[in-house]
């Protein structure tokens, strides 16, 4: 047996001494020396950074205390880690988790934690956890923490920034919706809290998996198989990136090709070969479990079988790409390197323009890019407003947001509101405008409404005439009707036409049934200047049944009891 420490007897009578010769009774708390403290070790900042991966989750716990949920009801840490797990479980597959999927799952977990609480609260908890992991408060940017590095400079101090994200949203082109993905930071924090080498981790995972299978621990084996698949995806992504860049511009990855890529390809090939062999071996182990009578074991075994086959497929696919990678390099080298050289004075857009621009400070980069935009654009002719159009435009309430504005900020779309006025009533009003022909006086239009031959119901004809009055008044002097303004504008335009213009010359509607101005309605502002049309004498049948309608300039119809 090895002796780790050997104790020597102290010589009798000699006071105990330290190694440096000072007697022990002189022992005072020594000042901590640089060499003795781990905070001065180069690996310390990395430990701090690894620890910080959990900080957002801890902060979420603190933020949750400010919510109006009952204390100690929802375990935010568990929910947060469950979210990351859910996302990871489907990452890289055809149906990656969407925000809606994960939200529903967390809502369910919250419901199980507090079944007595309202469903809205469960939903709120789900959204809260998801938003915290996405860093919605930071506009979905990375979390940032500033740390102190005492190891970088002798006797000094260096500040470091640790930026990372946990969950990010990606646009899934094939599904036309956003999916969630866990970042390597989240995966590593979840798996072990430390950064790791993909391949070593995979070896470890498969060893664990094999051991679990032999032990019959199928549930854990399933989890390990899922993890193995995720690691394979990461390996594939890494190789894909290099190949894509090689096709676009070999030079940007040239240094990687001369240094690390051949080695990575070789080891990837060996790795894939090893994984395929291991997966075949594991499949053999699972096959025996497939004969099990225990439904639980059988279900787990089936799932592992499916997972392993998928891993196998992924590896086979990756293998093809790895084998073809060198060919891609040679082809691209031939295509990109052996072409006619550019004139010597032409700058390289990537290395001599974009790269240094990105490295400039914000002020210099802003000045440069401002100039770049001007140079990239031809002459820009600013549109000048025509005076007569300008005045009309200023008078007219904007009909709605222009298409360009719509593109800038998305508008939450609700279901279209049910029309307030029935099509029959609108039809009466619109037909009156057509049959009377604009320009016309309001009295003529009211008369046309009441003598509409297509509408049988006198009540609908009367409603049509009221609608027309309202539309004409709205066109004359629209008011701010809050959310209904756009609706009123649309209705007015659908009845009277898009460029309708309304004015008054002081002529009154015939009393006693009517009160107010007999307004002139013209199809456009230019026609309004023509000779005013003649008024129409309104008969008793055209009057409202219960009380007189007052058509007042600048006001909607005011109704008063008779």
């Amino acid at each position: 047996m090895d002796v780790l420490f050997e104790e020597e007897d102290e010589p009798a009578g000699e006071p105990a001494r330290r190694l440096d010769g000072r007697p022990l009774e002189d022992e005072r708390p020594l000042e901590f020396e640089s060499a003795g403290l781990s905070v001065y070790e180069p690996s310390f900042p990395a430990r701090v950074a690894a620890f910080l991966r959990f900080a957002p989750i801890i902060e979420t716990v603190r933020a949750a205390r400010h919510k109006e949920w009952p204390p100690d009801t929802y375990d935010v840490v568990t929910l947060a880690l469950a979210v990351i797990d859910m996302v990871v479980a489907r990452q890289g597959l055809d149906l990656e988790a969407t925000r809606g999927d994960v939200h529903a799952a967390v809502r369910e977990l919250a419901c199980r934690a507090a079944p007595d609480r309202p469903a809205e609260e469960h939903s709120e908890v789900g959204a809260f956890v998801l938003d915290a992991l996405l860093n919605r408060a930071g506009r979905e940017g990375p979390f940032r923490y500033v740390t102190s590095d005492y190891a970088a400079r002798e006797g000094g101090h260096l500040r470091r920034q640790v930026p990372f994200s946990l969950l990010v949203e990606h646009d899934d082109a094939s599904r036309d919706e956003n999916v969630l993905r866990a970042t390597p930071d989240a995966i590593n924090a979840l798996i072990g809290g430390l950064d790791f080498d993909v391949e070593d981790e995979q070896v470890a995972t498969e060893l664990i998996l094999e051991r679990q299978l032999t032990r019959g621990a199928f549930d854990s084996a399933r989890k390990s198989a899922e993890r193995a698949r995720l690691l394979s995806v990461r390996l594939a992504d890494d190789l894909d990136r290099v190949l894509k860049q090689t096709r676009r511009d070999l030079r940007t990855v040239e240094s990687e090709w001369t240094s690390t890529v051949p080695e990575r390809l070789d080891s990837a090939r060996a790795h894939i070969r090893e994984r395929l062999r291991a997966e075949r071996r594991l499949l053999d182990s699972v096959e025996s479990a497939l004969a099990s009578q225990d439904p639980k074991v059988l279900t787990a075994a089936l799932r592992i079988d499916r997972l392993l086959r998928e891993c196998q497929r992924r590896h086979e696919d990756l293998h093809k790409r790895v084998i073809g990678a060198r060919g891609v390099f040679l082809d691209e080298q031939e295509r990109q390197s052996f072409r006619a050289p550019a004139p010597v004075d032409r700058p390289d857009p990537h290395r001599q323009v974009l790269q240094p621009t990105l490295e400039l400070g914000c002020d210099d980069a802003s000045a440069l890019t401002r100039r770049f935009v001007t140079d990239m654009c031809g002459p820009h002719v600013r549109r000048l407003p025509r005076l007569y159009r300008l005045i009309n435009d200023l008078w007219t309430r904007p009909a709605g947001r222009e298409e360009a504005d719509e593109a800038i900020e998305e508008i939450e779309l609700a279901e279209a509101a049910a029309p307030l006025v029935g099509p029959a009533v609108t039809g009466v009003a619109a037909r009156a405008v057509t049959s009377a022909g604009l320009p016309a006086r309001l009295s003529t239009l009211i008369h046309a409404c009441h003598h509409d031959t297509e509408e049988e119901s006198a009540e609908v004809r009367r409603q049509g005439s009221e609608l027309l009055c309202l539309a004409v008044l709205w066109a004359y002097s629209p008011e701010d009707a809050g959310d209904d303004t756009a609706l009123a504008d649309d209705l007015m335009r659908s009845v009277l036409g898009p460029r309708v213009a309304v004015d008054t010359d002081g002529t009154r509607l015939p009393p006693p049934a009517w009160a107010g101005d007999d307004l002139i309605v013209a199809p456009d502002p230019d026609t309004l200047a023509d000779t005013p049309p003649a008024p129409t004498l309104l008969t008793a049948s055209s009057a409202p049944p219960a009380f007189p309608a007052r058509v007042t300039v600048g006001r909607l119809i005011e109704e008063e009891p008779r």
């Binding site: 900042p45 990395a46 950074a49 925000r99 809606g100 506009r139 979905e140 940017g141 990375p142 923490y145 500033v146 590095d149 260096l158 500040r159 640790v162 994200s165 949203e169 646009d171 082109a173 036309d176 956003n178 950064d195 676009r248 030079r251 990109q336 072409r339 550019a342 032409r346 700058p347 857009p349 990537h350 001599q352 323009v353 974009l354 621009t357 990105l358 490295e359 400070g361 980069a365 802003s366 440069l368 890019t369 401002r370 100039r371 770049f372 935009v373 001007t374 140079d375 990239m376 654009c377 031809g378 002459p379 820009h380 002719v381 360009a404 593109a407 800038i408 900020e409 998305e410 939450e412």
Partner: protein
């Protein structure tokens, strides 16, 4: 032979067409006629150039794509980045500028590529990932985090990296709608602006795909890249001389 009144009318017509970047001479016989005159008649060409010179504008190309004009920043016809739709603050201006610079480098990765007039396709998604990856590599990042330099964190690439790639609206929102707080929105916005300038076209074959036109290449090649390079060289020269003043070393 001196120019007649009708020659000057043709010059005006030609410049008028050149001011509309989405128009092509192949589609309009009148444009074709005045452009042919510009190409073949020296006197008319000289008068047109002189007129444009007065506006601080010059001809970059007179090929089949029409008369492509470059503008000096002091010209009353110069486009300012604040004229771009949807831009409200300095950060957005810088972001849009970086994206445009990035598009030129993405489409033409080398000086030789700028000479090659084959069609360049850009996918919004691929471009965003590419530029993001480029910015990420600029971050001297290891397991311990990133050292904060003396001058603070002021690099332009951080502006891009600080913004997430995709942000969707609350409560799911409508798929495909992007918020202005994500880089994909700005990539689409800049490409949409280029479309209005006759420099890009939506690629109907692919979702989020665009084709950059010859006009884009002409502007990048003839004016924009060269000036950007000169600007950067000047900044680097200034930095080098400033370093020389203080510590006697040259900037690398």
């Amino acid at each position: 032979m001196s120019l007649t009144q009708s020659d000057y009318t043709d010059i005006g017509t030609l410049v008028g067409w050149a001011m509309r970047p989405t128009q092509r001479p192949g589609r309009t016989p009148e444009y074709q006629r005045v452009l042919s005159r510009y190409r073949s008649e020296n006197e008319l060409r000289a008068a047109t150039d002189a007129f444009l010179h007065g506006l601080s504008v010059h001809v970059l190309s007179d090929g089949d794509y029409g008369l492509v004009l470059g503008v000096e920043p002091e010209s009353p016809l110069a486009f300012r980045i604040s004229d771009m739709a949807g831009i409200t603050d300095d950060r957005q201006k810088l972001l849009a500028g970086l994206i445009l610079t990035g598009l030129a480098a993405y489409a033409y990765p080398s000086a030789e590529e700028v000479e090659d007039d084959r069609v360049r396709r850009v996918s919004e998604l691929d471009f965003d990932l590419w530029l993001r990856d480029l910015c990420r590599r600029l971050r001297s990042h290891d397991a311990a985090g990133e050292p904060i330099p003396e001058q603070g964190l002021d690099d332009a690439w951080r502006v891009y990296l600080d913004m997430p790639s995709v942000v969707q609206s609350d409560a799911g929102g409508k798929p495909g709608k992007l918020r202005r707080s994500c880089t994909r929105y700005w990539v689409r916005n800049v490409l949409g602006w280029l479309n209005g300038q006759g420099m890009a076209r939506p690629d109907t074959a692919s979702e989020g795909g665009w084709t950059l036109t010859e006009r884009f290449r002409v502007h990048a090649k003839e004016i924009a890249l060269e000036r950007a390079y000169t600007f950067i060289a000047e900044i680097q020269r200034r930095a080098a001389s400033a370093n020389g003043t203080y510590d006697g070393s040259d900037a690398s």
